[in-house]
């Protein structure tokens, strides 16, 4: 199985403090990779390296390599804007723009310079369908996206990312601000789109990780302790820390 993204000895420093201690991790194509671990273990930080969102934080330096299709995304030649079109991101809090649903989903397309209205309309519809929110918003496409419930907003945000047709979708605890029913809908939609996208999801919910992911990576104190197929990691963890964490002995 081809890997879409590979990290090798990735280290991240806030000033002089080393927050990620050499991460080696592969993201296989069209699989869901779950990043688990206690708060402050570096999993979100790692995720934000993958579309260079950490560039926005002052004083961050990154060493090692992080390759998308064998090209280092931290090389000076990388076009960050282009990278972020290929690596989309869904945030913890639903963050639709205060515009209409249609404008939200069409935002990335218009950024990419697409002017063809029919194409935009078609992409908005397919994206909203893929994000399993079409039936709830199809008659209200011109209403402000903030008028919808949190779960609907989050699915609109997912549709907004899908519309750009990225190769990888990063998700930073996308369901932690939602109720279980809304979270369930998002899990279902992730399973339904995984044949088209490669997904990396940070989650605190270990049941969620075991339900939807193919591969699970366990982070602790800025180190990648263990990575393996989800089944193997949950049923027969190799490291003691992993086993302790999964059994709720800490974290």
């Amino acid at each position: 199985m081809a890997n879409v993204m590979t990290a090798r000895n990735l280290r991240l420093y806030y000033g002089k403090h080393e927050a990620l201690h050499g991460i080696d991790l592969d993201f296989p194509k069209q699989k869901i990779t779950a990043l688990i671990g206690p708060s402050g273990s570096g999993k979100s930080t790692f995720l934000r390296c993958m579309n260079r969102m950490n560039d926005l934080v002052a004083g961050v330096t990154i060493t090692g390599s992080l390759k998308l299709d064998n090209k280092d995304i931290y090389s000076p030649k990388t076009d960050v804007v282009d990278l972020r079109k290929r690596v989309g991101m869904v945030f913890q809090q639903p963050n639709p723009f205060p515009f209409s649903v249609f404008d939200n989903v069409a935002f990335g397309l218009r950024l990419a310079g697409i002017k063809d209205r029919a194409l935009i309309q078609e992409r908005v519809e397919t994206s909203l369908k893929q994000a399993a929110v079409w039936d709830e918003v199809k008659d209200k496409l011109n209403e402000n996206a903030l008028a919808f419930s949190g779960g609907q907003q989050q699915r609109i945000c997912i549709a907004r990312v899908l519309a750009v047709q990225p190769e990888i979708i990063l998700m930073d605890e996308p369901t932690s601000a939602l109720d279980p029913v809304s979270a369930g809908k998002i899990e279902d939609l992730l399973l339904s789109i995984q044949d088209k996208f490669t997904i990396a999801i940070v989650t605190h919910n270990m049941q969620q990780a075991s339900r939807i992911s193919d591969q699970t990576a366990f982070f602790l104190d800025g180190k990648l302790v263990e990575v393996g197929s989800t089944k193997q990691l949950f049923m027969a963890p190799q490291k003691e820390e992993t086993s302790d964490y999964l059994n709720g002995k800490f974290g």
């Binding site: 579309n51 969102m53 926005l56 804007v81 972020r84 963050n95 935002f107 903030l146 945000c157 750009v164």
Partner: protein, 307 residues
């Protein structure tokens, strides 16, 4: 037993303090409310006397061009046509707002999005300083610099709407800028992050998200600026020329509601028609600022970042 009962049923010290506090707050609020109501009453009663006791029709007042309340015209009633002042006031207000808005947007963006640190350190004090300069100083600068420059370039006296607009431009710029800075800061950070994560450049995220999300805030800021321009008296009076003529161009002497008020108030006798006519102008000013306030409220209600 009775002693204990009395102790227990008596209001505690905290309760009494609470009650005093409530009363003090209530009385203060009431007094201020009364003040506002009585100002309105005074201005309205004096201002409306022109129409009820002076038998001037409201329509004539708003549409006639001759302003000479001291003398009786040919048809037997004093000429109190406020149209030149109304036009003058609106012209300087709207023009200065139009002129100041692009500058205010750029400065506010510079201070919040482009160089927050330097903006904070250098521009913030500059803007605060501009707000603090007394309007007579602005008028004086306008009189000694702007008026002669206009005279040299366009001819004429140099006094007029253009000079008034330029002086007001400098005066409303800091108002609009600082209010717009506040509303840009209120745009949540995650909108910017979301836009960047979708592949927006920094400029696209500013232009397509931050600016768009802050439009209600911008409108509020502009209206506040306009309210300030509309009500400004002294600086405008010094450069506008004070001729109650309907302005035909930007460089002929004109007047505003406020400039006629300040020049005329000392030359009339209380209770007479000329005096009441000035009160009518004041009433228009009051109603306009009320209108500006209502507009701000209306926009504010629509433009909140509610979830």
């Amino acid at each position: 037993m009775d002693e204990i009962k009395r102790q227990l049923t008596k209001a505690s010290k905290a309760t009494r303090q609470d009650r005093y506090g409530k009363w003090i707050a209530f009385i203060c609020t009431f007094l201020i409310g009364l003040l506002v109501v009585s100002i309105f009453y005074l201005v309205a009663s004096k201002g409306l006397a022109t129409f009820f006791r002076g038998h001037i029709s409201l329509w004539d007042f708003l549409t006639h061009q001759d302003w000479n309340p001291g003398q009786v015209s040919k048809n037997g009633v004093p000429s109190v046509g406020a149209l030149p002042m109304i036009v003058g006031s609106f012209s300087v207000t709207v023009l200065s707002a139009i002129l100041a808005t692009p500058f205010a947007i750029s400065m506010a963006l510079f201070m919040t999005e482009i160089a927050p640190k330097r903006g904070q350190r250098f521009l913030q004090p500059v803007i605060e300083l501009l707000v603090g300069i007394p309007s007579v100083v602005y008028g004086f600068v306008g009189l000694t610099i702007i008026v002669p420059v206009i005279r040299a370039i366009f001819g004429g006296t140099g006094f007029g709407i253009l000079a008034g607009t330029l002086v007001l431009f400098v005066m409303v710029l800091p108002t609009i800028t600082s209010m717009y800075v506040d509303s840009l800061r209120a745009v949540p950070r995650f909108y910017r992050e979301a836009a960047l994560a979708l592949g927006a450049t920094r400029w696209q995220s500013i232009y397509k998200v931050v600016l768009r999300a802050s439009i209600p805030g911008l409108l509020t800021a502009i209206i506040f600026g306009m309210a300030r321009a509309f009500g400004e008296a002294l600086a405008v009076q010094m450069v506008i020329g004070n001729a109650s003529l309907l302005p035909h161009n930007l460089i002929s002497p004109a007047s505003t509601l406020t400039s006629v008020l300040t020049t005329g108030i000392g030359n009339t006798v209380m209770g007479t028609l000329p005096n009441n006519a000035l009160w009518s102008l004041a009433l228009i000013l009051l109603l306009m600022s009320l209108g500006f306030n209502l507009l701000v409220r209306l926009i504010g209600r629509q433009g909140r970042f509610t979830k």
